[in-house]
């Protein structure tokens, strides 16, 4: 049995992760996102009232699913549609997740790790565990079936509709009844007694064996003809009624009592045990076929629980959100795109960016420090990852291509001290990225090659980025390397003069004429100012530019 809620045709097993997912998580701050995905937001009249405690399992699930990107439009739409159903039937997804959790937790309690569902079938405890497990699975499946049935009319997603259908097929009512009968037949083995209408009833076995006489009068070819449990009224063995019943039974012709001798009593207990062990081996396949299912169901519903929670957080902060749309890789268009992680961390609705970049494969962002460049880059990265996980994104609209691989190469502030060892390390990281590039790759560079001089850094950046660009890799880079940016810009200008198409575009942090920053990015000529000049401005005063810096 398969859950198939994350993919149309497979479970979440061995999904391909981003190469160096660790860097992506760190550079884009995804941990904050995972954490919040694990926290439900309770709304009252549309107002966030309470943030619930984190469910670490959900967070953990998000951390696995989000770095394993979907790579086709169909895959993304498949999840988006299920998410839509979940958002419209929140109780359903919550209950489904709750039930899956209950089953897995109970299962763990039954010693899943130690005995497993396919443990040794030759001891007394095994059959008891097996009966409890079968009961747990059967009751769980019934409940899940009921949940799916209850909301089925409301579903529009293929994923949930098919899940309901599959479950009805693979755990059919007929099969359900057979499992119930089996459990009822062996009930004597696990159920001691039961109160019924004020009287105490006990379960007693009824077994029929058939065999032949063999060598030395030994029974051979012994077959099990029938097994049932029946409830009989409990009576004190010392009571008169009890004795009368016993006497009546003892009149049965050609019979002997199961308590005739202690040895016989023991042997009959053994017979009961063997019989139940044998019967329970027949549920092993049932357990096996659904064991993977419960794990997957728990995991996959946890993802949608997390997805719903993330949407709740956007709503709470007041961010507009949308289902992203897929377009060609040369395009990147969005409106009011927010850096979602920062919004959650700072609990503010940050400045959004809007742009429509067409036919461009290289975006070079330059500009003053503290101007929102990195935020811009991260917001695109986060949205891209969320889009390729099938999630909603923090924007009024968002449209981007699908990239089979995504790389981030961020030089973090603490790393930026000049140091040849660090440059070597950076180049090493770049090298390993290049080793893992494929046809549809997106590379996000943030202050790359800042660990060496501007001149050296520029040459390195120019060589690498130019080559990658010509190879068709999509790159968005934030850079201080002015020489590099200027050279790129000069080449672009040259091309445009000759009426040739250039797939390079330049962004800058917007600065009003009065010098006030808006923290928005706009398409513009690379600024001729750098972080150093900014500093100089701040500390000493605006420096004079006397001649072009080459």
């Amino acid at each position: 049995m398969n859950a198939f809620l994350l993919y149309k045709d497979r479970e979440f097993v061995g999904a391909t992760r981003y190469f160096d997912a660790k860097s992506i998580v760190q550079d884009l701050g995804l941990k904050t996102l995972y954490m919040n995905a694990g926290k439900d937001v309770v709304f009252e009249n549309g107002v966030a009232k309470q943030i619930k405690e984190q469910d670490p399992f959900i967070s953990d699930t998000m951390s696995k699913v989000m770095v394993s990107p979907l790579v086709t439009k169909e895959e993304i739409l498949y999840r988006q549609k299920i998410l839509k159903d979940c958002l419209e039937n929140e109780d359903f997804i919550k209950n489904l997740y709750k039930e899956a959790t209950r089953i897995v937790v109970e299962w763990d309690k039954l010693g899943r790790k130690t005995t497993g569902y396919s443990g040794r079938s030759d001891n007394a405890g095994w059959a008891v565990t097996q009966i409890h497990l079968t009961t747990l699975f059967a009751e769980g499946l019934k409940k899940i079936k009921k949940l799916l049935k209850g909301s089925a009319i409301l579903f529009s997603s293929e994923g949930l509709k098919n899940l309901a259908k599959r479950l009805n097929e693979e755990f059919s009512d007929d099969y359900e009844h057979k499992i119930d009968k089996l459990l009822n037949d062996v009930a004597f083995y696990v159920k001691e007694s039961e109160d019924k209408d004020g009287a105490l009833y006990v379960y007693t076995p009824k077994l029929t064996l058939k065999g032949k006489i063999g060598a030395g009068l030994k029974l051979r070819d012994v077959k099990l003809k029938n097994v049932t449990s029946s409830m009989i009224r409990y009576r004190n063995p010392k009571s008169t009624i009890s004795k009368i019943v016993e006497f009546k039974n003892s009149l049965t012709p050609d019979s002997f009592s199961n308590k005739m001798t202690p040895i016989i009593e023991k042997q009959i207990v053994e017979l009961e045990q063997n019989t139940v062990n044998y019967i329970m081996t027949f549920t092993m396949e049932f357990l096996e076929s659904f064991s993977g299912f419960f794990d997957q169901l728990l995991f996959q519903t946890a993802f949608y629980r997390g997805a719903v929670n993330l949407t709740h957080h956007m709503k709470r902060i007041g961010i507009d959100y949308c289902y992203p749309t897929i377009c060609e890789n040369e395009r990147l268009a969005f409106s009011e795109l927010k850096e979602f992680v920062m919004c959650m961390e700072q609990r503010v609705n940050a400045v959004g960016n809007t742009c429509n970049i067409q036919n461009k494969m290289l975006v070079i962002i330059t500009g003053a420090n503290q101007g929102g460049k990195s935020t811009f880059l991260r917001s695109v990265g986060i949205a891209q990852v969320m889009m390729q996980a099938g999630l909603q994104v923090a924007a009024e609209s968002f449209s981007s291509g699908i990239f089979t691989s995504l790389f981030t190469h961020f030089t973090r502030r603490e790393d930026s001290a000049m140091n040849s060892g660090r440059l070597d390390e950076e180049l090493g990281r770049m090298n390993s990225i290049i080793n893992h590039l494929d046809k549809a790759s997106l590379v996000l560079l943030n202050e790359s090659f800042a660990t060496t001089t501007e001149i050296d850094g520029s040459i390195i950046a120019y060589d690498i980025i130019k080559a990658l660009n010509e190879a068709g890799v999509k790159i968005i880079t934030v850079t201080h390397l002015l020489s590099f940016a200027r050279k790129m810009y000069a080449e672009t200008e040259e091309k445009e003069k000759n009426n040739e198409h250039s797939d390079i575009t330049f962004f800058c942090a917007e600065r009003k004429e009065n010098g006030v920053r808006t923290y928005k990015m706009i398409q513009s000529v690379p600024e001729l100012t750098s972080f150093g000049l900014d500093l100089y401005s701040d500390v000493i005063g605006k420096p004079t530019i006397y001649s072009e810096v080459s």
Partner: protein
């Protein structure tokens, strides 16, 4: 002469000691594979040496077994016979009175049946050997006796009657109720329907009713048979329901009473009821037990044991033949004393041929190599007239010891009366096998090791056995060359003068030339420097061996230069 032993042994083998040469020739390793750890069978292989007559007797018997494909029949006989013995011991040890007469006729049935089957198999065979022919005679007389016929008939009838009983045990309300049906007489079982519906509490009344019905039924046996299929369906088993839940489960219902061969208390109670319901079977059994308490003839008991000598070897031989190894029956030829032997009475006479073999190999090595899928090198040899000893020299790892062992094995298997590991072979009668292998692992050196060798050598030379086959491997390696040559010459001369055949492996080429009855052999490396493990009958020559080895590793001046150039150095 009546039949006594299929191995031509005067009395049963008991408490034999392993011949000294087993370890040296790796025969113990071969026998481990043949006997698979069966001590009893191993003893037959250790009972050594045999006289020429006994060797021939066995070769003939083994030839009959092979030619007439008697293996299966004989194996079945030994298996049946062991089952019979098993049952006899159960009969003796049981403390359940009801069981004793049942074991008695049960064992009797197997005993008589096994002899009848063996008789039939031998009747249909074209036997040449004295051993099997006399066995056939014996069986004919024994099984033809009226006493035997009665035993066979009565025990068979009782067994069938017992096997035809079906028992149904119904455990409910703390009691086990037992129903017995005779498959031949009653169709009660077909009428008993045990409802699988757990709400149904009337199942035992159903049984009662049907039991009553069954007494009126069963008049028309033919009709019952026709209805068999339906009956089976009527008697649906719980497993059928379980299969609906999981049809791939291969597990079978474990009858907890099957754990032991003994009757459990539970079964005893059931059997008591069975006996009560079927008194005639048990009465008849009791009578047979009293009338005929002992019936086994010891000659067959011994036969069942001794046959395993041939059968175990046959199994082993077949396995090795499948893996591509050759075996043959050795032909007889003359020994140095002009006696002919050994296996050659059957097949074409080769009495005048020289001692020789083609495609002879070390069977112990073959066993090991076959497990790794590796072949073995085989050799041809011939002792021409007046040649008594091979003195074998040559480079280390040239297969010298292997060849010496294979020669020893050839003589051993000839003498024990079985096939030999070669394509063809001619072997005369030898009185015994004497071997002396240096103990390479010995930590002792110098005088200590030499002393140890001499101590072992002394009885071989002193307690000389006329016409033995001698295998000596690397004597006196720790002695000074001069001493070693002199000692070696003395040893060789001693055995030569006693008319022994043998092989002497040594690093001392000087030993080749001391007597014209000696043939110098050398293990060879081929032109590529590869060891081909062929023993060639030619003068000892070390020329080229060293060079070959150097070139094998491309360490010659020119080739080493070339290698280094190619490596860019």
């Amino acid at each position: 002469m009546g039949f006594e032993s299929v191995l031509d042994l005067k009395e049963p083998v008991k408490g034999v000691t392993r011949p000294a040469f087993f370890l040296d020739l790796n025969i113990d390793q071969i026998l481990e594979r043949i006997t698979k750890g069966d001590r009893k069978v191993l003893e037959y292989f250790e009972h050594f040496p045999l006289d020429a007559e006994c060797e021939n007797y066995r070769h003939d018997v083994y030839e009959d077994i092979k030619k007439n494909a008697l293996y299966d029949a004989l194996l079945e006989f030994t298996a049946d016979y062991n089952e019979f013995r098993d049952i006899e011991s159960k009969k003796k040890s049981t403390r359940i009175d009801l069981q004793r007469p049942v074991w008695h006729f049960w064992g009797m049935e197997i005993y008589t049946d096994s002899l009848l089957k063996l008789k039939k198999a031998l009747e249909n065979a074209d036997l040449q050997s004295e051993g099997l022919k006399s066995l056939r005679e014996l069986l004919k007389d024994y099984t033809g006796a009226s006493e035997f016929c009665t035993m066979a008939e009565k025990s068979k009838k009782l067994k069938e009657a017992l096997l035809g009983l079906t028992v149904i045990a119904n455990y409910e309300n703390g009691r086990i109720q037992v129903f017995v049906e005779d498959d031949k007489e009653s169709d009660a079982s077909s009428k008993i329907t045990v409802k699988s519906n757990n709400k149904d509490d009337r199942s035992d009344t159903d049984i009662e009713n049907n039991k009553a019905n069954s007494q009126n039924a069963g008049k028309d046996v033919k009709e019952d048979n026709d209805n068999n299929d339906d009956d089976e369906q009527d008697l649906a088993e719980y497993e059928d329901f379980l299969k609906q839940i999981c049809d791939v489960n291969e597990k079978e219902f474990v009858n907890p009473f099957a754990i032991t061969d003994e009757l459990t208390s539970f079964e005893q109670e059931i059997v008591k009821i069975v006996a009560k319901r079927n008194p005639e079977i048990f009465k008849e059994a009791e009578k047979l037990f009293k009338d005929k308490p002992e019936f086994e003839d010891n000659v067959f008991s011994r036969l069942a044991d001794e046959l395993r000598f041939y059968l175990s070897f046959f199994e082993f031989e077949q396995k090795m033949i499948k893996l591509g190894f050759d075996f043959c029956r050795p032909q007889a030829c003359e020994n140095a004393h002009g006696q002919t032997g050994t296996g050659g009475t059957g097949g074409e006479k080769a009495g005048n041929s020289d001692i020789s073999a083609e495609g002879l190999y070390d069977l112990a090595l073959a066993c090991v190599n076959s497990e790794k899928g590796k072949p073995v090198i085989s050799n041809d040899f011939i002792f021409e007239k007046n040649e008594l000893f091979f003195v074998l020299t040559g480079p280390n790892q040239g297969g010298k010891t292997t060849f010496a062992r294979s020669l020893g094995q050839l003589i051993y298997f000839t003498k024990i009366g079985l096939d030999v590991p070669a394509k063809s072979a001619a072997v005369p009668y030898f009185s015994d096998i004497l071997t002396h292998f240096s103990v390479e692992e010995s930590v002792e050196t110098g005088r200590g090791k030499l002393m140890e060798e001499l101590v072992r050598l002394s009885p071989m030379m002193k307690e000389y056995k006329d016409n033995a086959f001698v295998v000596i491997n690397e004597l006196f390696t720790t002695a000074a060359n001069y001493d070693a040559i002199i000692m070696g010459q003395n040893v060789l001369k001693h055995f030569l003068d006693e008319g022994c055949h043998g092989i002497y492996v040594t690093h001392l080429r000087e030993l080749c030339d001391i007597d014209e009855r000696i043939v110098g052999l050398s293990a060879q490396l081929d032109e590529n420097g590869k060891q081909n493990f062929k023993i060639l009958k030619k003068a000892v020559d070390y020329e080229g061996c060293a060079r070959n080895q150097v070139e094998k590793y491309e360490l010659g001046y020119e080739s080493l230069k070339e290698r280094l150039r190619n490596m860019g150095i």
